[in-house]
Point group: C2
Chain length 457, copies 2
């Protein structure tokens, strides 16, 4: 029989969705300086709702970057304490012309809600708040366990402020476990807990050649070309089979256990379907001898995301640019240390830099991989809660993405994280037409309610 909290959540679904739409309308793009005020507005929106639903000690915490939000409710004596986490910032929406509806005007189609941040992570943040609201209402103004919540606005740009805050405020944030809602279901209707994440080092290599842009007719053959230098460098960072060539890059990395690899083989994964419908390319690429799940969850990679500089508008301009840049990131797996990788990468790039060119490396973000144990009571309660909502056994997966805060919770606060996420593999994270399947928004709220009720029994 459904609890009063679950019933409350079911009765208020439409309102919850409407509130989420209001949050999605705020373009809280954390990487774009011109959206700084929007990021702040999104923070205030979340803080106001935390107050409204009865959370206590709500504060908007200023940082060097975008604000953090903290709140708590700590009156469930003898019950466990959860630290809820989500982020209210979003990726940039470009390329804008590929969106079927405007990225910051949430639009319903096919039972999905389309908007930048719909699933990553505003929709999942709002699940947490609405689960807490429902629990308050269903339990006579009380929560079944102690709750601390910390929301950040810099997840998409490296999360520096929350990392510093966690280190500074260990006692304040101390809890028995963390709930992180920023992952996805392995397949529609398949309850899923994520127990592993890759790390990330995101850099920009800037290459400088001549003192000014030069005409390629006049100077082609004598002037150094920063684009060609970047091409020479990056072509030697990874081979055509996806093997990273930075000396020492793979040293000491920890492979998944045999049991974990076996479990991955049992997952409902159709490589051909994945290729066709998710990736939509002629073939899949990557290191031979590793399955797709292995490659994307537990093997390190190196990618190029964009190469600013020179002439990029339509048409032709015969310029040898004075400078060019390349945004290059590396995903890491357990036992690869980001600082060590960055050191090896920086050294190798310097070595590969051709004469006449000067390179500099900017670091945008840096966080290690993380793997969570599956045998703690919190993971078990989460597994049961999702089973009740989905009526199916929960599977354990990893994600190729990076949530550095999970590593911080583990290493700094010494608490395990439950990564309970309700996105779908085709939700277009970081891409045009990002969406969140509306039934999953509701199931997420219900799963969190049941999870917390189980821990409060």
């Amino acid at each position: 029989m459904a609890s009063s909290a679950v019933n409350y959540a079911k009765e208020n679904q439409q309102r919850f969705l409407g509130e989420l739409k209001d949050l999605l309308r705020i373009p809280s793009i954390s990487t774009a300086p011109e959206h700084k005020d929007d990021v702040r507005r999104a923070a205030e929106f979340c803080a106001a709702n935390l107050r409204a639903i009865g959370m206590e000690n709500v504060e908007i915490i200023p940082t060097k970057g975008h604000p953090l939000i903290y709140a708590d409710w700590l009156h469930a004596a003898g019950k466990p304490t959860v630290l809820c986490y989500a982020h209210y910032d979003v990726q940039p929406p470009d390329p804008l012309n590929e969106w079927l509806s405007p990225p910051f005007e949430p639009t319903e189609r096919n039972n999905n809600i389309y908007a930048r941040g719909a699933v990553d992570d505003k929709g999942q943040l709002w699940m947490e708040l609405k689960a807490l609201e429902s629990l308050m209402k269903g339990h006579g103004g009380k929560l079944p366990l102690n709750v601390k919540i910390i929301l950040e606005g810099e997840e998409e740009v490296g999360g520096e402020s929350i990392a510093a805050y966690v280190r500074k405020e260990k006692a304040k944030l101390k809890a028995d476990f963390a709930l992180v809602c920023d992952t996805e279901l392995f397949a529609p209707n398949l309850p899923t807990l994520c127990v592993g994440l890759r790390g990330l080092v995101y850099t920009e290599i800037e290459a400088y050649g001549a003192k000014t842009d030069l005409h390629s007719g006049m100077y082609g053959g004598a002037a150094p070309n920063p684009f060609f230098a970047l091409i020479e460098i990056i072509s030697k960072l990874k081979d055509s089979k996806g093997h990273v060539l930075i000396p020492g890059f793979y040293k000491g990395l920890k492979a998944p256990s045999k049991d974990e690899l076996k479990a991955w083989k049992r997952l409902p994964f159709n490589e051909e379907h994945y290729r066709k419908t998710e990736v939509g390319s002629k073939v899949l690429t990557g290191e031979p001898g590793y399955s797709v799940l292995y490659r994307t969850w537990a093997r390190p990679t190196l990618e190029v995301h964009g190469m600013p500089g020179g002439f990029t508008a339509a048409g032709a301009k015969t310029v040898i640019p004075a400078k060019a840049a390349a945004k290059v990131s590396m995903r890491m797996v357990p036992n690869q240390d980001p600082d060590d990788i960055l050191k090896k990468y920086t050294k190798y790039v310097a070595k590969l830099t051709p004469k006449g060119i000067e390179t500099k490396i900017k670091v945008y973000s840096k966080g290690p991989a993380c793997v969570v144990a599956t045998n703690n009571r919190f993971i078990k309660a989460a597994t049961e809660a999702m089973h009740e909502v989905f009526k199916k056994d929960t599977v354990f997966i990893r994600s190729g993405g990076s949530i550095p805060i999970v590593t911080d919770f583990q290493d700094v606060l010494k608490i395990p994280s439950v990564m309970m996420g309700f996105g779908l593999p085709d939700d277009n994270l970081h891409a045009p037409n990002e969406k969140f399947h509306i039934p999953n928004f509701y199931r997420g709220i219900e799963s969190i309610i049941q999870f917390f009720e189980k821990l409060g029994e």
Copy 2:
């Protein structure tokens, strides 16, 4: 003793410069569709002046692209006929933030006029018109020789319309020689005629991978990355020493004669000064065993001008873009056929394209190299005219740039071109802070007057 025409030119220098400024204020950027009307305005400005100075049969000729302008004055019976050429379109001004004064607000500093198009080619176009005006005034409303003039607005985007027009209107454009003012002096105060140009093939390689932009965390290791594909391809188009690796690229090309190479060695060229003040890089690059002048005038090259796609704004975005592109051009020397080179290039790029990626090649422009004989009477008269203005012997040089129309004049109209240009090596063509040295604008007008007066004797 100076002719009346020369005196008239001297007396009217300030007005001539003022008129040039008006022309420079029109942002006639031929590659930018949003400036189509500005290109048209520049054409109308030139046509109006041709009418005003007494040229006849002035017409603005519509084309598929930007208009051509034609005018003539053909009443010098028994005298030679010149076909004057220049272009009124300009390169885009970006990067805008590097201009010290706005690119379309001509500004005088240090006896230079700074503006996009100042020297390439509006300033030199205006020299031709002002020489014709001065000749008309100095010769009682007549010209000392027969003049046809053709001005184009697509030089910076490949010059397709004029190429077609020259082929269609051979009789109308027939002349004894052409005067092309779009080159530069080898050094300040050194009278120079350009007798060779490199050819150009300008392309854009478009690379397509997944059907949509993907999150590099989720898909890194399985999804093809078009940027990495372009990097792999382009890294194999040219080696680190500047040698182009396209099979058959160098086949049959014609090297300069021993005499020409000897004359180049006598030119006042200081490689260290060139490196420091013109290029401003730590070292010069290019094929070992060839001098700088040889490399930039008579050796083919391959350059990358920009790589649109993915995420290029400030900050980090973890995207594997669905598509990316690279603007790649090749400069060619005599006996390299652009169609043949393009075919070999296209075939090689296809061969280098990694699996999972589809590449397409767009061609923006295509024109062969050209070398002009130095022993005709027109080059001789030009040499003498410049000697009188500069009081120095004229040198013969080549240019690494491309003026496809010179090849068309030679191959289609069967006439030689006199490339008499008054730019300077540090004029920042195609770059921020393009300039034209004002005394050279006046000397150019005077040189053309004397050149035409000599041919009319």
